[in-house]
């Protein structure tokens, strides 16, 4: 009857210990978000007002959506640094007026462009076994180069009216953008958890060689992952262009690296499904909140750059330590 002898106090202790352990095993982003909010509460309480919080949430949406694709890539031991390039491309397609189409057709062209970039990345990575970092970085450079060259001819202009309206729409006080983001998040979470595709993603992440040997369609799965990542980038681009109202060559420049940082902070490591899709999402919120906090403290762009650098550097070091163990 030892079980009965356990006092209520020690049961509470056990419960606390277990809860503490669960909290500690949560991705870093959760704790960081809480800490940042506490800091904000004391130093810039205005940031925590519901209206500002909703604005920050809305502002986090493009990163949050791009992060969905990036986390998929990392689960299959790949990376997507072409997110920035895709957004520049989308911005040029939509705002330059080079293509004489109506707005809905332009949006479709942008989607097709995203699919093409995803397939191109996948081709180089799966067929030619090139490093995903180099390939996707090169793709970004080429797209940006082409867009800059074309912009001499015809500079980017006004954003399509559809997108400017879309980002302003609200249901009650909740921006539609947030609803779309939540739906995408839910769809990806269910798809990854329940589909054949999700099982294959886990298998490839755990042991790509075994996946190949046992006849899992490696090429197809990795291609779908990269196409999905590019499509999320296209959609993130739509939102950014809608926010800003005009096209620009700077749009989404730091989205690729921020999405990488968010995925790592969200607990996803190369080849593992840890952290799920919620971890990276919380990390995207946390990063966006931290940039706002820094700006409100008057630290602005330089501090933001340093923070990004430190996050990615620490994450890379943590990754290699983990791999060596």
């Amino acid at each position: 009857m030892t079980r009965d002898a356990v006092s209520p106090a020690s049961m509470t202790g056990q419960w606390l210990w277990r809860a503490g352990k669960t909290l500690l095993s949560l991705p870093f982003a959760y704790a960081a978000l809480v800490i940042l909010m506490v800091v904000a509460y004391f130093m810039r309480p205005a940031l925590l007002s519901p209206m500002l919080l909703l604005l920050i949430l809305r502002q986090a949406a493009p990163l949050g959506i791009a992060v969905l694709g990036q986390s998929l890539c990392m689960r299959v031991l790949s990376l997507d640094l072409s997110i920035g390039g895709v957004i520049v491309g989308v911005s040029y397609i939509l705002t330059s007026g080079l293509l004489p189409f109506s707005e809905p057709v332009l949006l479709l062209v942008a989607v097709a462009f995203g699919v093409a970039v995803g397939l191109l990345n996948a081709f180089f990575i799966t067929r030619l076994r090139a490093s995903s970092v180099i390939v996707t970085l090169a793709v970004t450079l080429v797209i940006t180069g082409v867009a800059v060259a074309l912009s001499q001819l015809r500079s980017p202009g006004e954003a399509p009216e559809i997108l400017r309206q879309l980002v302003r729409l609200k249901i009650g006080i909740v921006p539609v953008v947030l609803v779309i983001w939540a739906l995408l998040l839910l769809a990806v979470a269910i798809f990854i958890r329940r589909s054949v595709f999700g099982r294959y993603v886990d298998a490839i992440g755990a042991n790509p060689r075994a996946a190949w040997v046992s006849g899992i369609p490696y090429v197809r799965v990795v291609s779908v992952v990269h196409v999905m990542s590019s499509l999320f980038a296209v959609f993130a681009g739509f939102l950014l262009i809608g926010f800003v109202g005009i096209g620009s060559m700077d749009l989404g420049r730091d989205l690729a690296l921020n999405s990488l940082a968010a995925v790592i902070l969200g607990g996803v490591t190369f080849g593992s499904g840890k952290g799920g899709v919620l971890g990276p999402t919380v990390a995207a919120l946390m990063l966006t909140f931290s940039f706002n906090l820094l700006t409100s403290l008057g630290l602005g762009e330089p501090a933001k750059l340093m923070l990004q650098g430190i996050i990615i550097g620490v994450a890379a070091a943590a990754y290699s330590v983990q791999r060596n163990n």
């Binding site: 269910i190 798809f191 329940r194 589909s195 054949v196 595709f197 099982r199 294959y200 886990d202 298998a203 755990a206 042991n207 060689r209 075994a210 996946a211 190949w212 040997v213 046992s214 006849g215 899992i216 369609p217 490696y218 197809r220 799965v221 779908v224 593992s272």
Partner: protein, 503 residues
């Protein structure tokens, strides 16, 4: 020169060498031979400092030695030419030959002298390789030549050649013979690990035969005939844990048909049929091409010519060099190395097995977790674990192997290709795995397996195909074949073994 005195070596619970005592004299070429897994390489690895002995003593000129690293062995004057290639691909032949001992002039590497000396080392082997060629660009055979050149150029008294001729062609083997004779003439001791009878009788003075880690005999080669040597190598007892072989009805449908398949440009054609309900084994010595055949069938390695067709309800369908398509057509492959090629170690048992069941589903399909199916299968496989959620990496070797095979059994395939079905598995799990394979065959599946353990094939298989130099040289009835008969074909090939069998 070298004495092994009651040398013993264990790997876990496995006794690799048991009280082996052999004396070897300077000025001889001493062959070490035996079946796969007899302990030949282990014995030489003790001498080369790759492993340390667990018991007994090795003496060099009467002095006990215990090299703990290959470098220790080299310092003692023992030079080893390993089977594995150890050349650095981004250095030239000359640079590789003199790695770490470059000739110096005024503190700088004397490239001219290095190239000259390297040239003469290569020429001694009868080769005309360019010493400025990068080793990464050489064929495997040429890399072996360079390895040999490097090994014999060392100032040593004892040389170990571990299967040196595996990749060499006839004239190169000839030159190697001359080289061995030269080493003997200069009073060196040469160990020649090989199961090639020709070379043992032509190059070697004495031969030591190992069997199951025990020393059988050491004799002068002149006092032995080929047949006597083969009989000394075989003759073990078949264990009782194999499932019974049911009588096979004639005319069972063909599950897999291979015609005129070649694994390399210059290899002979391979043709055979695999019928449903039977277990067929590919027997042979290590590295004779059994593995290439099974990997080609599984779609992992390309084939040069010929056709592989799979029988199915709707008729025969051709298979190409594509793993995904092969698996979808119902052919499963179990690799030898379960950790790197077979299992997803961080994933759970549940997830590992489920992956097999998804084989035919489109990737966007949503699937339910079939807990009940998994639990039922785990019971049938008798997987000992903490539950279906335990990571496969935490299981014992035998249970991992069962999960790997179980994944295919759950996937509804009808042809199963296996490489070493029970590598690194304890005896109890072995019997269970044999039972699973027989059950699969009895239910209409067809099994093709490669194993370096001949006894396993003799106990398990309905038919045994003996492979020698990428060719099937004999087809034997598994229930009636004797170890000696299989070894005869494996060692001597069709013509010679046939003559002896008739005599």
């Amino acid at each position: 020169m070298i004495s092994f005195d009651k040398v013993t070596k264990r790997f876990g619970s496995n006794l690799a060498l048991s009280e082996v005592s052999i004396d070897c004299e300077a000025g001889t070429v001493h062959a070490i031979t035996g079946e796969n897994g007899a302990g030949k390489s282990t014995l030489m690895n003790l001498l080369a400092g790759v492993f340390s002995a667990d018991g007994g003593e090795i003496r060099l000129r009467g002095e006990p030695i215990s090299p703990e690293r290959p470098a220790d062995a080299r310092r003692l004057g023992i030079s080893t030419i390993f089977q594995e290639l150890t050349l650095l691909p981004n250095l030239t032949i000359a640079e590789n030959l003199f790695l770490g001992r470059e000739p110096l002039r005024l503190g700088m590497v004397d490239r001219a002298s290095m190239r000259r000396q390297a040239g003469s080392m290569i020429a001694r082997l009868g080769s005309s390789l360019d010493v400025d060629a990068y080793c990464g660009d050489l064929s495997v055979a040429d890399q072996h030549l360079v390895e040999i050149a490097r090994g014999v150029s060392v100032d040593a008294d004892v040389f170990i050649f571990d299967e040196p001729t595996a990749a060499l062609n006839a004239p190169e083997v000839e030159k190697l013979g001359e080289l061995l004779a030269a080493l003997r003439a200069s009073g060196k001791l040469v160990f020649y690990v090989s199961h090639r009878l020709d070379e043992i009788f032509r190059f070697c003075d004495r031969v030591s035969i190992l069997k199951d880690g025990k020393h059988v005999e050491t004799r002068p080669t002149q006092a032995l005939t080929r047949d006597e040597l083969v009989s000394l190598m075989v003759g073990r007892v078949l264990s009782k844990f194999f499932p019974p072989r049911p009588a096979r009805p004639d005319g069972a449908p063909v599950a897999l048909s291979v015609s005129g398949m070649r694994v390399r440009e210059d290899s002979p054609q391979v043709s055979f049929e695999l019928r449903s309900g039977e277990i067929v084994g590919l027997a042979g010595l290590e590295g004779q091409g059994q593995r290439n055949i099974i990997r080609a069938l599984s779609g992992l390695e390309p084939v040069v010519g010929g056709k592989v067709t799979k029988g199915s309800e709707t008729g025969p369908m051709p298979l190409g060099p594509d793993v995904v398509a092969t698996a979808r057509a119902g052919v499963g492959f179990v690799p030898e190395d379960r950790k790197t090629e077979g299992l997803y170690l961080p994933l759970s048992i549940d997830e590992n097995i489920t992956l097999g069941m998804l084989r035919r589903l489109p990737i966007w399909q949503l699937v339910k977790r079939r807990r009940d199916v998994i639990e039922e299968l785990m019971g049938r496989l008798n997987v000992r674990s903490a539950g279906a959620r335990q990571a496969v990496g935490e299981l014992s070797g035998g249970n991992q192997q069962k999960v790997m095979i179980g994944r295919w059994l759950a996937s509804g395939i009808d042809v199963l290709l296996l490489e070493e079905p029970t590598r690194g598995v304890d005896v109890g799990a072995k019997a269970e795995i044999y039972g699973l394979l027989r059950e699969f065959a009895n239910a209409g599946g067809a099994v093709l397996t490669v194993s370096s353990e001949l006894l396993e094939l003799l106990g398990l298989c309905d038919r045994i195909l003996v492979v020698r130099r990428n060719e099937i040289v004999a087809e034997l009835d598994g229930a009636r074949a004797a170890e000696e008969e299989v070894m005869r074909y494996a060692l001597m090939g069709r013509a010679e073994a046939g003559v002896h069998a008739n005599a």
